[in-house]
Amino acid sequence: MSVVVDASLIVALVVADERQAAAEAHLQGWVESGEDLHAPGVLPYEVANVLARLVFDGDLEADGIADTWPDVAALDVVLHPFDLTQDGSAVAAITTRLRRRHATDSTYIHLAQQLDTALWTLDGPLARNAADVGLPVKLIT
């Protein structure tokens, strides 16, 4: 079995988010049960931007980044490249259904559809938006 993990789950391990315990429990459960974790190839760039922001804001020492990446890598998330010819139209269609102006969330949902699974996220508005139009997004609370 496979699950698609939103960047918010990974970031919730890095910062003391109030939903951290729930995110941790889900991730530990998936790892323990042998679920494969998947994400679009954009995930590391999103995490890198978050880490840069934390350093800029003084919430993370620059040295802390070097400690963080090996642990993120150990999650062994399978990253999927964006196929320009096959994924573009599907992602655009999802973005239209969600009535959004931008497409990053849609790349996660499209991947979940391709893998016949769900995207797991901490993003409540995205989960509710997706549920309204029948897209496979599950909210961790």
């Binding site: 910062v15 995110a23 999103e46 922001r53 963080t68 890598a73 969330d105 409540g124």
Partner: protein, 83 residues
Amino acid sequence: MTRAVTVRLDEADHAALARQADQLRVSPGTLARMLVHAGLGEDVPARDARAAIAQLVRRSQQRPAADAVTLVNDARAALGSHG
């Protein structure tokens, strides 16, 4: 624990090693170790995912509380891709 091995290279190989190491921004010794790993087909030992999750959480407790969704949304905006 590491053990040292002395390897003698001719001038051309040494120069090539130094050049590639410089391009990769690592020392010649580090590049040599990477090449030995690759040649022997030995992967870097996989870290235990459960321990890594616990370690991330443990370190996060030393930082101010933050909203992961907001941080990710800001990161996506910075990538010019979030709506």
